[in-house]
């Protein structure tokens, strides 16, 4: 989640390291259960933390099922509906080095909020080819949807207020594994 440049302070911890790991393990099992195994599955993570989560899910599935699933990276900046309302677009690139045609693509993001990012991601994926199906996995569903989009796999449902922000911190980026709710510092 990108947060505005005003100071946020931590309000509550939502997931600790063990709970985060258990949530991912459960999602990995659910993915296998729902799809009857790992055949023709592929992960596509949304930059930045969705990619890390996608790699972790792929590793868990490799452990459970022995299948090495491909993991791609999606940058949806070029598909944003608010591109012209933001500052300089930072393009970090899409890297999906496998064909998604005929695959069931599991899209992975850290926090599901308005659904606009996922809307953009669906367009971006479909521009790359025609997958058999697209499913959505997210670690946190914080509500406040503005589009008719729902996740297939959720780590934790987390009712939030709009002024709060959900920060998913991952070892690879932030040196720790945990999820916290933050709220703006009072002026």
């Amino acid at each position: 989640m990108s947060s505005p440049a005003r100071p946020f302070r931590e309000k509550a911890q939502v997931l600790d390291e063990a709970a985060l790991d258990r949530a991912l393990t459960r999602i990995a099992h659910e993915i296998l259960e729902r799809n009857g195994g790992a055949a023709d599955l592929a992960f596509v993570g949304l930059r930045t933390r969705g990619v890390t989560l996608a790699h972790r899910l792929a590793a868990k599935i490799a452990k459970i099922d022995g299948a090495a699933l491909p993991v791609g990276t999606l940058d949806i900046t070029l598909y944003r509906d608010d591109l012209a309302m933001r500052g300089t677009p930072v393009i970090r690139g899409t890297d999906i080095p496998f064909s998604i045609k005929g695959k069931t693509v599991v899209l992975v993001d850290d926090v599901l909020f308005t659904g606009r990012t996922i809307r953009a991601a669906l367009d971006a994926i479909i521009d790359l080819g025609r997958p058999t199906a697209i499913q959505l996995a997210c670690l946190i569903d914080r509500g406040h949807r503005e589009l008719p989009i729902r996740p297939d796999y959720v780590g934790k449902n987390l009712p939030t207020s709009r002024r709060e922000s959900v920060a998913v911190r991952l070892r690879e980026h932030d040196g720790e594994d945990r999820v916290v709710i933050e709220e703006p510092e009072e002026a």
Partner: protein, 312 residues
């Protein structure tokens, strides 16, 4: 690091951070060229006008493809067959085009400063696609992207730019860009084609091809315009080819084996470059063209796709 400029007029205006932002953005956009469906919606609803007063194949096509891959509407204007032939002035034509509310005007003109003039007069973003003997910034950016991909960095690289330095906007844009990124530049050519005081741009000067290409990482050969001979600046094409043409033999004897060979095109085969060198293993001339589309996508996206650069 954000993009805040309305226009892209000259490498000389940019700082190292802005140059790297443009190169990085272009690098990330390259992937679009490998897709089955080469289109992203980033500039949907934006209008780009290519206003070309000089002949161009690569640059105009490249801007057109770049705009279309980003889903912008691209309109081409060339001076021949237009109201320019009926005597309309450059600025009048430009103002008429601006009255149709384009978001970006890409301009090429034989007069130095033509792009800056439009940038002053028109509310939309202006991209300089070559103005006289002044600058050609997108060419320098695509050269930089090509160099970084092959050599992996900029700092400390040594580049030789060989040929008609005095009339080359490609040389000027590259010199500014390369110096800002910490590269060493040697320019070389017949004394009549080396501008006086060129050292003030921070470059070294060589008057023999052999001296210029020794130990450099990149050799950039420039196109010799035939009209230079008519102007009496070189005695003959044959003499130019003999002293300044890069042949396989010269390359093998004087240059490092891994030196990149670049050329902004169109190549005069057998004059500044022998065909064996132009098509040789270290020639990246076609890579340059491929990178050109990515660079122009990056430029158009930063100018038309962000709040900061939206002209308004």
């Amino acid at each position: 690091m954000g993009w805040t400029r309305k226009d892209l007029l000259a490498m000389r205006d940019l700082d190292a951070g802005e140059i790297l932002l443009l190169v990085d953005t272009a690098a990330s956009l390259q992937e679009i060229a490998t897709r089955e469906i080469k289109k992203v919606p980033a500039l949907r609803g934006k209008t780009i006008v290519n206003l070309f007063y000089e002949a161009s194949t690569r640059t105009r096509t490249s801007f057109e493809i770049a705009g279309k891959w980003l889903s912008a509407d691209v309109v081409n204007f060339s001076a021949s067959g237009s109201s320019t032939a009926k005597g309309e002035s450059f600025i009048d034509t430009a103002k008429n085009i601006a009255a149709m509310s384009p978001d970006v005007v890409v301009v090429r003109h034989s007069s130095s400063g033509a792009a800056a003039l439009l940038a002053r007069e028109l509310p939309c973003s202006i991209v300089n696609a070559g103005d006289g003997t002044h600058e050609h910034p997108t060419q320098a950016l695509l050269d930089l992207l090509t160099i970084r991909e092959k050599k992996c960095h900029f700092e400390g690289l040594h580049v030789a730019i060989v040929g008609d330095i005095a009339h080359s906007r490609v040389a000027r844009s590259n010199i500014h860009g390369m110096r800002k990124l910490g590269m060493t530049v040697t320019v070389a050519g017949p004394p009549t084609l080396i501008p006086p005081f060129v050292q003030e741009l921070g470059v070294k000067v060589a008057y023999r091809l052999e001296d210029a290409i020794r130990d450099v990482d990149v050799i950039m050969m420039l196109r010799l315009q035939h009209e230079r001979m008519a102007a009496g600046l070189i005695p003959s094409l044959r003499e130019y080819a003999r002293y300044w043409g890069l042949s396989l033999d010269r390359l093998a004897r004087h240059a490092r084996p891994d030196a990149l060979i670049m050329h902004p095109g169109p190549v005069n085969r057998g004059i500044e470059l022998s065909p064996e060198v132009a098509d040789g293993p270290y020639s990246v001339i076609l890579d340059q063209v491929t990178k050109g589309v990515a660079v122009r996508m990056g430029v158009l996206l930063l100018l038309a796709g962000s709040k900061g650069g939206d002209g308004a």
